[in-house]
Amino acid sequence: MELWDTTRQALVLLGTGDPELWQIVGVSLRVSLSALLLITAPAIAAGFVLAHVAFPGRRALVVLVQGLLSLPTVVVGLVLYMLLSRQGPLGDWHLLFTQKAMILGQMMLALPVLTAYTVTAVQGADARVFETAVSLGAGGFRAALSTLWEVRFGVMAAVFTGFGRIISEIGCSLMVGGNIAGLTRNMPTAIALETSKGQFAQGVALGIVLLILALGVNVALAALQGQGGMRKAWQP
C-alpha cells in the first residue's frame, strides 16, 4: 500500500510542521499574493474600461484578452526569461531567479484572467447602474466603482480565479525562479522536483495544501455569493 504509506508520511510532515515544507508554502503564498495584490487594481480597471468605454479597437482588445486566457505559462516564462537574462533588455535589473521575477511572471499570467472576467462581469451589469450613479452626482471614477460594487461577486470570482491560476502554475515559476531551495522553490516546482526524485511524501503534502487552498477559495466565494450581498451602497 505505497499510496497509503506516502499519504500517511505526507500527513505526518504537515502535522509536525516540517520547516522546509512550510517554507515552500510560504514562498508560494508570498509570491502569488504579491502578484495578485499588484495586478488586481490595474486589471480590474482595464476590464471596466474595455467593458464600458467605447473606443476604436476595443472589440479587438477584448478578443485578445480572452485569447490570452489560455496563454501557456512556459511561454510567459520564456519571454520573461529572455527579457531578464543577462543579455536581455532588462538584464541590468538582476531579477532572474528571484521571487520578484516570479511575481512579474505571475502578474502577467493573472492579468488576462482578471481583465477578461471583469469585462464579463461589467458587461453583465445593468446599464442603468452607471447612469444612476452619475445622475445622483457621482463622478466617472465613483460611478465606475459603484458599478463594480454592484457586480462585486463577478469581480471577486475574477480575483479568485486569477489566484487559482497563479498559485498552481509551474512553467513560469520554474523558468524565471529556478526552483532554488529556500528562495524560489514554491509548491508546484517542489512537487515536480520531489516527484522526479521519487520522493513522493513532500509532494503529496504540498499537493494537499494546494488542494485545501483551492477548495478554501471556492468555499469562500460560494459563501460570499450565498449572502446575497445586501449591504449599504458602496461608499468610497
Partner: protein
C-alpha cells in the same frame, strides 16, 4: 422667470433618422412641464440629452446663463440635474442606503445626511421601508424611493421618464400625488409621460414631441407656441 436650461438648435440622429430636432427649448424656474408624445417621439432621448447622459448636436446649451457642452457638464451643474429612469435602478442595498447615496457622493456630514434621508423618505411616504432591500420593492415603491432619492438632493432640475408607466393603480396614484408636490419656486420639473392623468395635472406646462419636434400641446393655457419659443 429666468430660464434654468436654455437649449438652441438641438439635433440628434440615430441610424440616419432624425430623433430630435428642436430649435429652442426654455425651461424656467418654478415651472413644471409635461412632455407628451407617441412612442419613439423622442421624449426619453430629450430627457437623457438634458441630463447629459446622451450626446447630441447642440448649437447652444445654457444652464442658468452659463454656456456649456451638455455632453461634458461640470460636476457642479450635473449635481443640479436629477434624472430618473422609467424603471429606476435600485442599488443592491437598503432603501435608506439608496437615498443616502447622492448625499454621500456630495460629502454631506453624517448627521445632516441622516436628517435629509429621513425627511425625503417621509416626504415620499416610504419611511417604513427604510431597512428593506430596495431591489425587492414593488415597481411603485421603487419609483417613490427614486423620487425620494432625488428629493433628498434638492436638485434644481427633475427629469422624470414615464414615472407612472407599468404601475398598478395604487402605485400610480401615490406617484402622481408625489409628482404634484415635487415642484418648487426654484426648480424645474420635466415629466415625460403618456399617462393622461399626469398630463392633466393642474399647473403643468404642456410640451408635445412629434417625430423629434416640439410643438404646442393641444390643451394649454399658453398661447400657441412656435417652434422658436417653447416653454412659456
Amino acid at each position: 422667470m429666468a430660464a434654468v436650461i436654455e437649449v438652441r438648435g438641438l439635433h440628434k440622429t440615430s441610424s440616419g433618422r432624425a430623433v430630435l430636432d428642436i430649435a429652442l427649448l426654455h425651461l424656467r424656474a418654478g415651472e413644471s412641464y409635461v412632455l407628451s408624445g407617441d412612442n419613439g417621439a423622442g421624449k426619453s432621448t430629450l430627457l437623457r440629452v438634458l441630463a447629459g447622459l446622451e450626446p447630441a448636436t447642440v448649437h447652444s446649451y445654457r444652464f442658468r446663463g452659463d454656456e456649456l457642452d451638455p455632453a461634458r457638464l461640470p460636476s457642479r451643474v450635473r449635481r443640479q440635474i436629477g434624472y430618473v429612469h422609467q424603471h429606476p435602478y435600485m442599488f443592491n442595498a437598503s432603501v435608506q442606503a439608496n437615498v443616502e447615496y447622492g448625499l454621500r457622493v456630495r460629502g454631506i456630514a453624517s448627521g445632516e445626511r441622516k436628517a435629509r434621508v429621513r425627511e425625503a423618505l417621509a416626504w415620499a411616504g416610504v419611511q417604513d421601508l427604510a431597512a428593506m432591500p430596495a431591489p425587492q420593492l414593488s415597481g411603485g415603491e421603487q419609483q417613490r424611493v427614486a423620487l425620494a432619492r432625488l428629493k433628498a438632493l434638492s436638485p434644481c432640475v427633475y427629469l422624470l421618464d414615464e414615472p407612472t408607466a407599468n404601475l398598478d393603480a395604487d402605485g400610480r396614484r401615490r406617484v402622481i400625488e408625489l409628482l404634484g408636490r415635487l415642484a418648487g419656486a426654484d426648480n424645474v420639473v420635466v415629466i415625460a409621460c403618456h399617462d393622461q392623468e399626469v398630463i392633466n395635472l393642474p399647473g403643468l406646462v404642456r410640451l408635445h414631441l412629434s417625430e423629434g419636434r416640439l410643438d404646442a400641446a393641444p390643451r394649454n393655457a399658453i398661447a400657441p407656441l412656435r417652434e422658436t419659443r417653447i416653454g412659456g
